[in-house]
Symmetry: C2
Subunit: 373 residues, 2 copies
DNA sequence: TTGTAGGCGTTATCAC
DNA sequence: GTGATAACGCCTACAA
């Protein structure tokens, strides 16, 4: 599927850039010295060191840093000076253990190949930036069993909240989370009874709207391509929305042109060719994600097909590329960064004590009619 | 710059998908019960509970889970049964504190907009998947000061190793890391004296090779576009490599066609138009990243420019889109997933005690000559 | 093979 | 406003 025209000239060897592993031998660390004669520990400066240096008790040093208002300004200044002089870095892990309050939250994404998920990640990372909570990342590879394992691992690591993708999860995942009693945010859809809260939109309605748009434009022989629905409840809902729109307008929904496809531009191209060979009368193809749709638009260009003259193409997500294709791609816009941001904010609010359970945030969607339909 | 042809029809209101926040009131958790009459804690099952349940001492339970070989099979079985019955999830944070051994590593990326960095992330996450270490993520937004803050935060959170992008860092970052004595891996370039180890390639040589390729193909009036070099040592090295190649072949390097550009397809399109208006005789443009180059190729299509007839275009990175453009983009291939994987593996090796400091892993590069040049 | 004692670095509790 | 004491949950060291 990949079109690599021309020769592929390796410069690695020419330019001395072949794989080299060299070790600068003498650069080993200086011998490790433990400040005190104790048995264990990093040898790292501790709060006790700071307290000693400042002539106060450890708890006062702790308060000076975490609850400055409870400490006399002079004392506080002494502690702050000691912190600076000793280059003290607090051990948040220890603090977290002592106060039994978490210091990180987790996000589990189904993939890092698709920019729609890294956009969500970006939104979440941004929202957490000044919160004091770190983000721990997991990739479930669209596998519920892997997701369950990740959830268990993250619980063991003491995360205070977890963000999941989609509404369908392994039973084990659900019982782990119920048992752990931590805030859970499901994203990308709006289950009626979320595990905790959820932020997303109606994949069914969005897909229905796009199918409706195609029908309105006069297309009657429509095909549908999505990811495998068995492992992806969003794709499943989009397929249902598409089917409902066709049924509502009395159009046939030919199973031979309702495809499941792997991910990628090449896969979109392949799906286009497959559909046009299986059913040449197809006048429009609705792809449930923009990467597939973009692959099809780019393939049409290579094949000399006119879009939408020979076949109309619609996508879903509104990735950056969509608006830059020729012709620009009709698609459904989803505010993915906003989704990630909202999900992270829900986690933060829950950690701050705001009532959380059952909240359902609908971020909506928007049909963007460009030139491929 | 964005080309949105056609109307933009919001379905949110039509389909009842407008923003809704509803709270399912009754779904609050059952009252929180603390197993024992103690003062603090989550109320979560602890190793002590498991030990009691199994009729052994806590340390035996600990060993049964972490060093099974040191425990009699029968005892181990009793502990395992207790773990299952109580749905015990270990507190790795506490274990980490007690053994003063880390349980997470950090990756700091300069951006989550560019897939080249999420590819690296994917490689790293993959390599860490079965390692027992979690990945904590930070986004520095190409800002050395933010990077320094993130490093400090991550050190406070007790990560065992840190992966950075590039070779240039704030002095504070360097002193923090030197002081912390934890493994650091720099990525995307090969500094002569890395902070710890590094995995990357010669940006200078790769860029030189691409410029050489353009010159070899007969182009003489070449322009160069990259990200702002002040905050990006890779872009700076690529610009130097380009300039050296031109100098070596006696070509003029016109400062008016050596541009710095923001990121994105739209920015690439703008750079193309800018260069052709500033210097219409330009016969080739070398973009230091594929997103800019792709934006230019797509813009050329819209503008009716022939590539490479009117202007040749070269990129850098070999993103997925590059090979699917029409014409397919000439670029420099970098194994980004391999880079992330190698970086993560270096961290793991260092954490396992393998000599680490000074190791420099060159992943090489490859000029992919496709049809835009 | 199993157990006892004590500590990892911090903070909650309660007293002064 | 400050401090002594104990606890967070687990593991290392040493002993039996």
């Amino acid at each position: 599927m990949r079109v690599d025209v021309g020769s592929s000239l390796s410069m690695s060897r020419l330019e001395g850039a072949s794989v080299i592993v060299e070790t600068v031998a003498s650069a080993l660390e200086p011998p490790f010295q433990r400040p005190r004669g104790n048995r264990r520990g990093h040898g790292r400066t501790t709060l006790a060191d700071v307290a000693r240096h400042a002539g106060v008790s450890p708890i006062t040093a702790s308060r000076a840093l975490n609850k400055p208002l409870l400490v006399a300004p002079e004392t506080r200044a002494r502690v702050e000076r000691a912190v600076a002089e000793l280059r003290y870095i607090p051990n948040i892990i220890a603090g977290s253990l002592a106060s039994s309050s978490p210091s990180a939250v987790a996000a589990i994404l189904p993939s890092l190949d698709n920019s729609i998920f890294t956009d969500v990640l970006k939104g979440a990372v941004g929202a957490l930036e000044r919160s004091g909570y770190r983000l721990v990342l997991g990739n479930s590879h669209f596998d519920p069993a892997v997701e369950a394992t990740l959830v268990e691992t993250f619980l063991a690591h003491g995360v205070g909240a977890i963000m999941l993708t989609g509404a369908r999860h392994a039973p084990q995942t659900q019982s782990l989370l119920t048992n752990a009693r931590i805030p859970v945010v499901q994203t990308w859809s709006l289950p009626r009874r979320p595990l905790g809260a959820c932020v997303g939109f109606s994949n069914f309605a969005a897909s229905y709207a796009m199918a409706h748009h195609l029908i309105e434009r006069g297309y009657r022989d429509i095909a549908f391509v999505s990811a495998a629905v068995a492992r992806n409840d969003r794709a499943a809902a989009r397929r249902r929305g598409y089917a409902k729109a066709l049924a509502d307008h009395g159009l046939v929904n030919d199973p031979s042109t309702t495809l499941e496809s792997p991910f990628g531009l090449a896969a979109g191209a392949a799906a286009l060719e497959r559909i046009l060979s299986v059913r040449p009368s197809t006048d429009a193809i609705f792809f449930a994600n923009d990467v597939l749709a973009s692959g099809a638009v780019l393939a049409a260009l290579r094949l000399g097909l006119r879009v939408p003259g020979d076949v109309a193409i619609a996508g879903f997500d509104d990735i950056e590329l969509a608006g830059h294709l020729m012709p620009p791609l009709t698609t459904v816009r989803i505010d993915r960064i906003g989704l990630g941001k909202a999900a992270a904010e829900l986690m933060l609010e829950a950690l701050a004590g705001t009532p959380f359970k059952g909240r359902r945030v609908d971020i909506g969607f928007e049909v963007i009619a460009r030139a491929t339909t």
